[in-house]
Symmetry: none
Subunit: 387 residues, 2 copies
């Protein structure tokens, strides 16, 4: 899974996408050996997904049915291991005036070190609220995450964030007013504010904080039970390990480069039935709008590919979780290209794996949530439907 693989061809880029411009002899050889190609709509036409919905769709979960809150995604990104029922909130340190009015929502964008210090202080002083454990972890700059680990809690809640300066921090409310668990969670957040604000009240400029995307880690049916496949995740960045863990994948830690990730796959080949291998750099360079670096990231991936192919999986899919076009400098709605290789995939008789080529492939344009089913079909896992 090359994160943000898909791109668009613009005049400025010589009417080529990074995938088209990249030298990919190993992908080309795989295509020549026979692959099916197509494009995948990550969520729905015109909708740009975040990493959460992008990955859940790849794992076969309808991203509109299984929604994961922003706090949970942030917590996963910081490498926190959440438990089902944990409430997670994305937090900012901010500046409050004498009357409790928010004067700077980012506290002058304080340094990460200052944030870490404040989080450390808060962690020491506020370990619990009532019978609920509080876990605080610093992120980058003014950002941190707060986890409430207790019993009978539920989100989502409204934000403790006015989303603009010049007004007070609003009280959080359950979004579902009838939920007793959400009411309890809202009360807890209020108590947390009461306990935590005095701890940093004399700090400058960060003497307050805002919470948003407050929701519980949803219970998601396990990948293994859903597909009868023992899954493992080989990812480098915490966010993707976290998303894989959400569906119950075993995290195989250690590898840093794509070559090491593929080596790890070889080593673990007999222990698992399904490997999710995450490659970050296509997305990272797409976000920067750096065409050459994205192209190079694809070439690096291609150079390592022969390692993976030493023990060629029965079914191999190569795709992204969404497009991150250099011209957009961010995620986009453009369907990502996908390649499927198996003994039964047939051949689309295309020369390379590219966006333009994938437009012509036998898979057509389909919703990403169906990829796993296509892979299972290619693995001959299914009986006939009907007699």
């Amino acid at each position: 899974m090359l994160d943000g693989l898909g791109d668009i061809a613009t005049k400025e880029q010589g009417e080529q996408t990074p995938l088209e411009a990249a030298r990919t002899p190993n992908l080309d050889a795989l295509v020549a050996a026979g692959v099916a190609q197509g494009r995948m709509t990550p969520v729905a036409p015109g909708i740009t997904p975040g990493s959460g919905p992008g990955h859940l769709a790849l794992f076969g979960y309808d991203p509109l049915e299984f929604q994961v809150g922003r706090g949970v995604i942030e917590a996963l990104g910081l490498g926190l291991e959440l438990k089902a029922g944990d409430i997670a909130a994305r937090a900012n340190f901010c500046t409050l005036d004498g009357n409790g009015i928010v004067t700077d929502r980012r506290a002058g964008r304080i340094e990460t070190e200052v944030c870490e210090e404040l989080c450390h202080l808060l962690s020491r002083k506020v370990k619990k609220v009532g019978d609920t454990e509080v876990i605080i972890k610093a992120g980058k700059g003014h950002r941190f995450v707060v986890i409430f680990r207790g019993k009978g809690l539920e989100g989502p809640l409204t934000d403790a964030d006015p989303h603009r300066e010049g007004t007070r921090v609003p009280k959080v409310e359950p979004i579902n007013k009838k939920s007793v668990k959400a009411k309890k969670a809202a009360k807890l957040v209020a108590e947390f504010y009461k306990a935590a604000l005095p701890v940093i009240a004399r700090k400058k400029p960060a003497n307050g904080f805002l919470l948003r995307g407050i929701a519980h880690q949803p219970v998601i049916p396990l990948f293994e039970e859903r597909y009868k496949l023992k899954p493992a995740c080989i990812a480098v960045y915490p966010m993707y390990k976290g998303l894989a863990q959400l569906v119950g994948m075993t995290k195989l830690e250690g590898p840093q480069t794509i070559a090491e990730q593929f080596e790890r796959y070889l080593a673990e080949y007999d222990q698992h039935d399904f490997f999710f291998i995450h490659y970050k750099y296509t997305d990272m360079h797409g976000e920067d709008g750096n065409f050459d670096a994205k192209k190079k990231a694809i070439e690096d991936f291609d150079a390592a590919l022969p390692i993976l192919l030493r023990k060629k999986p029965d079914v191999l899919a190569i795709t992204g979780d969404h497009s991150t076009p250099c011209a957009v400098k961010g995620h986009s709605w453009h369907p990502q290209p996908v390649l499927l290789h198996s003994s039964l995939c047939g051949s689309d008789k295309l020369e390379r794996f590219t966006e333009t080529g994938a437009n012509l492939g036998s898979l057509g344009i389909f919703e990403a949530k169906y990829l796993i089913r296509l892979m299972q079909a290619n693995a001959k896992m299914f009986d006939k439907f009907g007699a």
Copy 2:
């Protein structure tokens, strides 16, 4: 929007569609500048839409969810401005014998002038039924429209039309038997018959009339509220102005030629965010099965295109509301080609905008109701879905 743009390539037409055969230097230049192409299913596979569903889909409304009755469409086509709650019926003058049996459902296809005279007479004699206003307007030949404008009315009703000769005009009934409003409407139609039939009883050959497609103008969420875009319609024919008005578009009246329509767009550019420009002649010549005239209509459109491009919209879509193949001489189910141009559409690297080319485009085949969302995505109007 080139009405009925899509076509099929037949042997008789030299295996070309009008769009393929037409000389379109300006469309070709637009394609060379970078466009995304695809085809749109107007309603569902194999379903041929009328103008109502064809346009509602283009405006982003699911044509199966938002159904507009035949009477309402006819009224819009005659330029009548309906209000929400108005009941409209498509009407035919017919011939009845002494026992009330329908002997000719079209009264010998009377001349338009005769129809106008009869409608004038009916309008004078039957202005109201109970507290409900009655509006009667002649169409072509034996056709006219009846509008009931009152309070607490609702359709749809069964037809006051046996759909064959040799039998009586059936009494209308509410389709939803539980609707009090529809019961009131059915009673009203019966009273209208009682008042109107005697007025023309001695006329020959049109001494009776049939009503069908009796339904109220549905309440459709406003385009502007739905999409946060201020929409305007630049159409020549009443039907399309009426359909645009159904979703709350501002009608810009006056222009007659496509060049004048594009000039009007330039003049109004700053007053609106979305322009629906309707071009009728592709459909008209398709209905006649006139290949050369349809090709010429496309060339006329192409010749005027540079006017539109003087103030190139951020996002431009060129498509039809359905196909009207010359070989069919009518609307059809074949997906219409669509072209999308914006700074973020990418390029499909196709040479021209044609049906066959669109088959290879990055947009694939998608439901027409998603076009507006794709346009909004290209206009960068959306936030990311999920974190």
